[in-house]
Amino acid sequence: MPEMVYYYDGSFEGFLCCIFDSYANKEVLTAIYRDEDFVPTLFASRAIQTDQSHAKRVFRKIVKCSPYTANLLQKCFLTCLPEKELSMYRLVVKLLREGPGFLGNFSDPVLHPVAKAVQHLLAEAHLLKGFVRFSELDGVLGGEIEPKNRVLPVLRSHFCARYQNEKFFIYDRTHKEALFYANGKAVIRPLDDFQMAPPDETEANYRILWKRFYDTIAIRERYNPKCRMTNMPKRYWNTMTEFQDASYFKAQSSPAAVSAPGVPAGISAPGKPPGHGPSAPESAL
């Protein structure tokens, strides 16, 4: 069978159509790229048109063979695995050729990269369930994240259940998309640029309280930065309240208020209180 490079529109359905067309044309795929990553090559290539009915047929077949794989593919499509489409394509080919027997073997050379990437996605999403920080502005909760994988579809059900009666959004800086939720409806939309508004007094006050709590809860005699970094890698610190510099804790919307009420004079609010355990480094990496 001839070897071929396929291009598709970047959607999950488009990817399924690549599989459909590779079978229809009796071709073996050596690479699958998105249209926007197109580079002229010497290899024979083909641009695939997305056809919803073809995509549905492929997906129905995969679900019939193994519902587990269908789920795995949907998740893997969100990961940051390099050339994920090719790994996923190989998994489907093996599934259709051999049946689902090999899926129990986590170390299978075709399954392993896909399963591993999905594990990475789910682990990152699990961490972010805790590490997302919301700020309240005019009754709307907003948060920003910088994940490696596209975690928003995975996080959606968690946050929608938890903040059922709230309005909130989470902006994904890496993939430039945002999850919006209000009145029981959630959507994920691409969003090119987003800047969080500065906090008002109430918001700044809760940030100060949280920062103080975080700094106080650590036991100085047990100081163990390596353990903290293992559990909470530094790449998450960027968007977390605990690790922001002083300006993050100042209310800015009303210039009349110099210091938020409730902050006693003499205590530099966001800084480290003397003698209360090691504080987080001032600069976030």
Partner: protein, 422 residues
């Protein structure tokens, strides 16, 4: 006193409590209420403090005023420290607003004993009731049951909280008598027994009536201080095992004693907290709960303490060379779990994988087996890892070297040329 200062004092007073988990709750969200507890089986950590411990719950005391004089405690009445107390409104407002910003998973409410155990528990119940009923908080609540509280109040507390805990603190009665003269073993075990019985009863009722009230649905836990008294690891581990067997505890926490006060009966103030010992106890705790080990297998009267150099599972493996090597293609689940470097996940994966074909040494790493430890103790299809040669002696050295980078490092001490000699 404003809320910021109260928060500082009451967090500082609560930080020595080790428990900070949000596991075990499966309550979905309710209309008109804020939050839920169904994050995942393992709970959800919202941050990690500079000492590497997870921050899940808003862990504070309701008040740090205390009538007791436990020698090891910062809040004892003879300690000259600033005292404060939250009003129920302040506490509820903090919890709700932290929770909405996703800072926390819920509230961990403990308290010093103010006036009497009953009076304190009543205050806690009032605060929790306000939070649950008026502020409509549906997230996780962990509450401390204070030894000596009357059963009726523990009952009310359990209906408001997801998890209850009674701290044993000192692992022996002699230790309690010497260091915590106001507490008795009986006063600690009575509420534990009650919580267990009531929890069981509530589970049975739930089978019969769907809307039966849930009593502490996430179970109960406790905490032991390690290193304040001379109790051996064997003693502590036996106690732990008894608590899991007889009281059905979800967790036993260990807290390496941090010398906060100078007292003749306690370790001196410059003694470092026994962090490695605490680490080994946690490792053994996991072996009891998930790996089918018994306390008597891990330690005995001849070796009452853990070897600080290797973890308890490796220690056991080194003492039982006849059990190894284990053939991964034929061994059953419990035998797989005994191999150092094989955990619950990798053992399950091995079981699933070998249904579709024989396993080889190279597959094991991909299945999640930690080969730098496991290689000495297993074979796959009759073969050990390639090029592996070892004697009993080099085996021990290999295992020590494998773990060393993972342990907290001793601080390097700068030697001075000018220190007085001798």
């Amino acid at each position: 006193m404003d809320v910021l200062e109260k928060l500082t004092i009451l967090t500082d007073a609560a930080k020595y409590d080790a428990a900070c988990t949000s596991s075990g709750g499966t309550r979905g969200s309710k209309k008109g209420y804020i939050g839920n507890t169904s994050s995942s089986v393992a709970g959800c950590c919202h941050s990690f403090s500079a000492d590497g411990r997870c921050v899940t719950l808003l862990k504070v005391l309701l008040t740090n005023r205390c009538i007791y004089d436990c020698k090891y405690c910062v809040n004892r009445r003879s300690n000259d420290t600033k005292r404060a107390a939250f009003t129920p409104e302040e506490l509820a407002d903090l919890t709700i607003n932290f929770y909405r910003r996703n800072y926390i998973e819920g509230l961990f409410l403990s308290s010093g004993v103010f006036r009497s155990p009953d009076y304190t528990t009543e205050l806690m119940i009032r605060a929790l009731r306000l939070l649950r009923e008026q502020y409509r908080f549906n997230g996780y609540i962990h509450a401390k049951a204070i030894p000596g509280t009357s059963p009726e109040l523990v009952e009310q507390l359990g209906l408001l909280a997801d998890r209850l805990s009674v701290n044993i603190e000192l692992p022996s009665e002699a230790g309690l008598k010497a260091l915590a003269p106001d507490k008795t073993k009986q006063a600690i075990l009575t509420p534990m027994r009650q919580i267990q019985a009531r929890n069981q009863q509530s589970k049975e009722e739930l089978v019969k009536y769907r809307h039966a009230p849930k009593f502490a649905p996430a179970g109960q836990s406790t905490q032991l201080i390690v290193g304040a008294t001379r109790d051996s690891d064997l003693h502590i581990l036996r106690l732990t095992q008894g608590l899991y067997d007889r009281y059905r505890l979800k967790r036993v926490f260990y807290s390496a004693y941090v010398p906060v006060v100078e007292h003749a009966l306690l370790p001196a103030k410059d003694v470092k907290p026994p962090l490695l010992r605490e680490h080994r106890l946690y490792q053994a705790d996991w072996l009891l709960r998930f790996y089918g080990f018994r306390a008597e297998e891990l330690l005995d009267e001849q070796n009452p303490d853990f070897d600080p150099r290797v973890d308890p599972k490796c220690s056991w493996a080194l003492a039982h060379p006849a059990f190894f090597p284990v053939e991964v293609n034929t061994a059953d689940y419990s035998a797989l779990l005994r191999i150092p470097g094989v955990g619950v996940t990798s053992a399950r994966r091995i079981l699933a994988a070998r249904r579709s074909g024989r396993l080889h040494i190279d597959d094991l790493r991909k299945l999640g087996v930690v080969m730098k430890r496991a290689q000495y103790f297993l074979t796959a299809s009759g073969k050990a890892a390639e090029g592996l040669r070892f004697t009993q002696d080099s085996l021990l050295r290999g295992l020590i070297a494998a773990e060393r980078p993972l342990l907290p490092q001793q601080e390097a001490i700068q030697l001075s040329l000018f220190d007085p000699v001798g």
